[in-house]
């Protein structure tokens, strides 16, 4: 924690240096503050939730687990997923899980795996009619993978995910965006819980507290059109997320036990498999 505070402090210095020419600047140095008034019930009720900021990327989740030491990322690889289904909801969910697989390969610094996952993402994107957005990124992803440019790859993956969502929006497939996010989060949870179980620590287990996030995703599911809500895969996801929501909704001072992490891992793994299962 102290180290993090120090990092933030260094950043403040960088920030102040970068903008020292500004006349009305009021740098606060590395002081901290909690003097703000609490938010009112009305403010909390009207707070905005947007996919682009409210739902963390798998990369962000993975960055947090790395703080406890270098995880064995390759242990979290899974066999290639063959999606023969024409169910667009299932394809969108799978696209999310595949993008998360891309982040795992980047964290593992495995260029070949990045390219393999990239091909799977492209194939699925083509079937969802959003391949142009992925194609535009795939060349640079391959290039970065060959040059071991892992930071840039992380950025490209995030940009690819956003391009896919933007293309879905342009194609009036806005409802599928939620499913891409859900797929990514479920696979990310499967991976992080798997890594926590390999080398259990309280700090890592605490990462799994995400009650509001699951609530946000579930709320988005309830707003899907009736036809999508009746989709068997979406119904499975909705039902299983109920159980997962309970598992990640613990108080801030609770540390999930190894058994609790295992239960969450089993639930996330089961759902990932259901999403990837042929129809």
């Amino acid at each position: 924690m102290l180290v993090l505070r120090k990092w933030l402090g260094v950043s403040v210095i960088a920030l102040v240096s970068a903008f020292s020419a500004s006349a009305d600047q009021q740098p606060a140095g590395n002081t901290t503050t909690a003097a703000d008034s609490p938010l009112s019930a009305e403010e909390l009720k009207n707070a905005a939730s947007v996919d682009a900021l409210t739902v963390p990327t798998p990369g962000e989740f993975f960055k947090a687990i790395e703080k406890g030491g270098k995880p064995n990322w390759t242990s979290q690889y899974r066999p290639p997923v063959s999606i023969k289904s024409t169910d667009r909801a299932q394809m969108a969910l799978n696209l999310g899980t595949l993008i998360a697989d891309g982040y795992i390969a980047v964290e593992a610094h495995d260029g070949q795996q990045v390219k393999n996952v990239g091909k799977d993402v492209l194939a699925l994107a083509k079937r969802l009619s959003v391949s142009q957005s992925v194609l535009a990124r795939s060349a640079s992803i391959t290039q970065f993978a060959e040059n071991d440019a892992w930071d840039q790859l992380n950025e490209e993956l995030e940009a690819t995910q956003n391009e896919v969502k933007k293309a879905l929006e342009e194609n009036r497939d806005t409802d599928l965006i939620t499913l891409v996010s859900i797929g990514g989060w479920i696979r990310g949870t499967e991976v992080v819980t798997g890594l926590v179980l390999q080398n259990y620590s309280a700090d890592d287990a605490r990462l799994l507290r995400q009650p509001a996030l699951v609530s946000f995703l579930k709320n988005k599911l309830t707003k899907l059109p009736g036809k999508l809500q009746k989709d068997p895969v979406v119904q499975n996801v909705n039902r299983d997320l109920d159980g997962i929501q309970k598992m990640v909704s613990f108080s801030a001072d609770h540390v999930p036990t190894e058994g609790e992490v295992k239960d969450l891992n089993l639930a996330a793994s089961k759902l990932t498999k259901e999403i990837g299962a042929p129809e």
Partner: protein, 143 residues
């Protein structure tokens, strides 16, 4: 009748294009906030490829829900891109109580640095302390 249909279609196109296209103010605010957040990149912070664009005035702040991970460090950065404004970014926990953060204010640009002790929901408040109603852009960086 045909004219009416054509006129309605044209009106729809105009409304749609206005809904999709970014305004100059939005472009300015986003460009400025990315410039500000760039200062953190040298220190290893990665800018998340996503933003929130909103309207703000002295009487109307904007609050955005975010889900953060303990162990990560974050900088939330906002800007209106308008020279006369004075912006403030502050942070709150899931119950709306203020948390300790590292503040930064420089006219239309503001930021808050935070390392959460607990993973979960937090709120980012962007308030305009001085200036006319404006468009702002909020982004965040993490490491």
């Amino acid at each position: 009748m045909r004219r009416l249909i054509l006129a309605t279609f044209a009106a729809c196109l105009i409304v749609t294009s206005h809904g999709l296209a970014e305004t100059d103010d939005q472009v300015t605010a986003r460009s400025d906030v990315i410039d500000l957040a760039g200062a953190f990149q040298n220190d290893g912070f990665k800018i998340r490829d996503g933003n929130f664009l909103g309207q703000i005035s002295k009487d109307h702040s904007q609050i955005v829900a975010v889900n953060l991970y303990s162990g990560n460090a974050y900088w939330f950065t906002a800007s209106t891109g308008q020279k006369v404004d004075k912006l403030k970014v502050s942070l709150f926990d899931d119950a709306g109580k203020p948390v300790s953060y590292m503040p930064y204010q420089s006219g239309p640009r503001a930021a808050a640095g935070f390392s959460p002790d607990a993973s979960g929901l937090y709120y980012v408040k962007v308030a305009l302390e001085e200036g006319q109603p404006a468009t702002f852009c909020l982004i965040y960086s993490y490491k």
